[in-house]
Symmetry: C2
Subunit: 357 residues, 2 copies
């Protein structure tokens, strides 16, 4: 089976959540010892996991974050204040346990699956990194397509298979994360095309550009789109022409998780662009995806709107790596623990307001 | 020593955080392997705990929530859809472990200290409840003062001593929580007087009033303030005339925690009103307080503004009990874990942007 064939087959497997399970979830939530709806978004989150798991006592004890790393040829255009070597250096930092995501994943009890899907400079060989390198970084999209359609499909397949392997291991909740110097530029290009908005509306400072840097970056995104003319109705074409290996890979993680019946938590802007591509390829992923947080990167608001998702957190974060996903997984876990552990009005002998007029 | 004397003595003990510690905290955060500031509010939180602990590796392993329960005479005016018996019933539910706060406190590793500071109907005797009942609920503030000044001072002292006992046990972070049918009405009255805003701006649906119910509640708050003429410049007078035993008690918890050098996390609207009273009695508490979340109860925004605090979470919650405090304590813990566990650019061998121009 070709990579595109496997993608199509996987998309066809995505199930629609049960309406009956959703009704049972809300009946249960409304019977618990609290005024109905008084836990707000926490109840919405619990109800959604309960629906997806078809269980009134949802739980997500086994959590995993898939962190994909890749480089971007567009860094030749000076779109980041950091050199591309930092991608490989940060992969080594992830392996050593020194990055933000290591601490936050551990804090919420999530494992970290680290995948080199196309880092451009050598990553030290390590048991901690899955080697799935498609190329030494993408080509410079300001001069031609970032990758071929075949490479994009292969990246999506790698993501699908990573999600499937975690689901087979019994993981209940998958988070996305990424590392790739220059990847807010690729995410901006993907978002601009798929959401149909001007590049300047989705370009931000990334890791720390000044105003002139942001203007230059918007110009590069605009040029990349003009040069490559991606077909907005074909998300795989968009990923190939102006995306990144980790962005296409994470689109695959979202599709693979949904197909395996595992809810997935999208991190910030780059993961959001990947999720938007996944949604366009497979509209059925929508109920399976949680938005973790609202990134400080301005384009993320447009991504969230296009996804139709309300994020769990808003902490003004813009790091990536899956740091927002990890924190949100802690809240989703708490929501499940709340719903599964609370007593009902009847069980606790508490007078409900319906009984008293 | 009188209760007011003990309060004054405690307020005098509150220390000012070290400016040098704050500078060291930010230098450390900026040396860690992430673009400066890219973890947003998580960095602000970590820096604040680091400053308060005077440590570049802050940590809050031992967490406790103080949940105070009391009844309100103003429930005679039909300001809540639930009967006052629910306060005692919910205390029994807390003891049995069936409430939302039991699940969320356990989830974040916080203990629960449950104090009956004035429940109006019998609470079953239990090792799980600290008996510190000042009266069988407050008097109806719509007809006269809710309590005497002596009772208010005693409630504040109970809170101070509860916080002090936890600090002596080595607790690193204290959260506030409350239960008391009718207490959004008292919180609204306290907020209206201390923030100097019209009652109708701080009255909301509470546990679920309809529009007519909210209008009636605002009328009752207005009447209580007119009848009792609390002195806005004397927070203890405001607590006595239109407050509640748990609100005065939690003001004491905030003061006691700050005096003991322990950061404190205020839950939602009722805890926020208590924190505002604490701040007016003891301006030095300000750096020691974290706002956990933005409550769906409309008056909470006014409380947060008066406190000058940005909440950690915004989950549209309005339950109380300390549920918002518990979730925020999880995020504060994560912030400390991040700051304490991350490698620096130098340690990880990652190229920082300053080095590359």
């Amino acid at each position: 089976v070709t990579d595109e064939g496997l993608i199509a087959h996987t998309i066809a497997e995505i199930a629609e959540p049960s309406k009956a399970a959703e009704i049972r979830a809300w009946e249960r939530l409304d019977s618990l010892t609290k005024p109905p709806g008084s836990l707000g978004l926490l109840e919405e989150v619990a109800a959604r996991v309960a629906t997806l798991q078809d269980a009134v006592r949802p739980s997500v004890p086994r959590k995993a974050i898939v962190l994909m790393a890749a480089d971007h040829g567009v860094t030749d255009e000076n779109v980041s204040p950091y050199p591309r070597e930092v991608t490989a250096q940060m992969v080594a930092n992830f392996v050593a346990g020194g990055a933000a995501i290591n601490q936050l994943a551990r804090h919420v009890g999530a494992t970290l699956t680290l995948i080199d899907i196309g880092v451009g400079t050598p990553v030290p060989a390590s048991d901690g990194v899955i080697e799935a390198r498609i190329a030494d970084g993408t080509a410079n999209m300001a001069r031609g397509p970032a990758m071929t359609r075949e490479q994009a499909a292969r990246a999506v397949r790698i993501g699908i298979e990573a999600a499937r392997a975690l689901a087979d291991d019994g993981v209940d909740l998958i988070g996305t994360g990424e590392m790739g110097i220059g990847n807010t530029t690729s995410a901006a290009a993907v978002t601009s095309v798929l959401a149909g908005v001007e590049p300047k509306r989705v370009v931000g400072p990334g890791t720390g550009l000044d105003e002139a840097g942001v203007r230059h970056k918007a110009f590069i995104v605009k040029r990349a789109i003009e040069r490559n003319s991606p077909d907005a109705s074909d998300a795989l074409d968009v990923l190939a022409k102006v995306g990144g290996f980790e962005i296409a890979g994470l689109a695959g993680v979202v599709i693979g998780a949904a197909a395996a019946g595992v809810p997935v938590v999208a991190d910030g802007y780059i993961s959001g662009a990947a999720t938007l591509a996944a949604l366009r390829m497979a509209p059925g992923v929508a109920p399976w995806v949680f938005a973790s947080h609202r990134s400080a990167e301005p384009g993320h608001g447009i991504v969230l709107e296009a996804l139709g998702l309300v994020p769990v957190l808003d902490l003004d974060m813009r790091l990536g790596e899956g740091t927002g996903a990890a924190l949100a997984m802690g809240i989703i876990d708490a929501a499940c623990v709340m719903m599964s552990g609370m007593a009902t009005f009847a069980e606790a002998g508490v007078t409900d307001r319906e009984q008293t007029g």
